[in-house]
Symmetry: C2
Subunit: 196 residues, 2 copies
């Protein structure tokens, strides 16, 4: 069994939202596994903080995916009405083992459909915005990531790292996730106490 | 006072080594501050796990820096003999408020000079390699990052996030670092216990 994990990129995607999961999945991959970036065209994607990245595939030539991940960022609001991106998600989601988002990527999964009837989360600062856009969906607060069936949505930005490690535990094994965590030396120690 | 933070890129730099700090510093920046990527040429840089990034500046046209950051990755071994990159670090380091590295980026700072006589750290899996390359330098184990004068070196990959948040506390204020941490929702929760 080899895995293909696709990370969707778009203008104003937040950098760490996708770069964290990218690091986790590429660190975890074994022979034959692929982690690819996918965007509407092969042009450089300008992310929210100005980083420019070259995607590996377009929505048309993307390989069959086992996992799709939609990052967040300010750009997710525009993507909620981008038919090309929404169509891509609608096309690949039914074939995926896991459909996932980081941060406000859940806004896109809501617009595309896979979040319908599911419990989800998003960035804490976007809770009210999410509720007003999708009043029928149950929003979970105070969770690093929420799994409902094969949909997994994470909280903001860095939470994508935790979610991706959890997914590595599901896709490979808990032992393999621990090895991955060690390889990326992820025993985090935020230097200043208390978020509040 | 406005700050300019430069992140050096090269072939086979490890993605999260620079993308973590990029997220922290761009989240923290206030009006006038800049965070830029700098490489030998403006060609796409192919990172260790295959991500291709377009750098903002070359070593020749880089702005004056307040902070320089050298990521790690397998490519650091080759960079230890890349005169163009070593010369750039030698030129900018004396003007920088902070000279920093993530993971095996310390291998490059050692080759370029700024680590001479300083206590440093690196990725845990590279301790022995570092000691054999630089027997005269004191290597600190079991630290997320080590500050010695204006040199700050972090442990592997994800440790660059913690180091960068610490630097935000120094460059701006502890309060600002807390706000940054909150904005990137960095209250990490690795899903599987114990690294050992």
């Amino acid at each position: 069994m080899s895995l293909t994990i696709g990370i969707v990129l778009f203008t104003d995607a937040e950098e760490l939202d996708w770069a964290g999961p990218w690091e986790v999945f590429t660190m975890a991959r074994t022979d034959g596994d692929r982690v690819v970036t996918i965007a509407e065209t092969l042009d450089p994607v300008r992310c929210r903080k100005g980083l420019r990245v070259l995607p590996d595939h377009t929505f048309e030539d993307a390989p069959t995916l086992d996992v799709v991940l939609v990052p967040g960022g300010q750009g997710t609001r525009v993507q909620r009405t981008n038919g090309a991106l929404l169509d891509f998600i609608r096309r690949v989601a039914p074939q995926c083992q896991w459909v996932t988002s980081v941060c406000t990527g859940s806004f896109v999964l809501e617009a595309a459909g896979p979040a319908a009837g599911k419990r989800v989360t998003t960035h804490w600062a976007a809770f009210d915005e999410f509720r007003s856009l999708a009043p029928g969906i149950e929003l979970v607060e105070n969770a690093r990531y929420v799994r409902d069936g094969n949909l997994v949505t994470s909280a903001g930005v860095s939470a994508g790292i935790d979610m991706s490690l959890w997914l590595v535990g599901q896709l490979y094994s808990v032992e393999h996730a621990r090895t991955t965590q060690m390889a990326m030396e992820y025993n985090p120690a935020p230097p200043y106490a208390a978020l509040v």
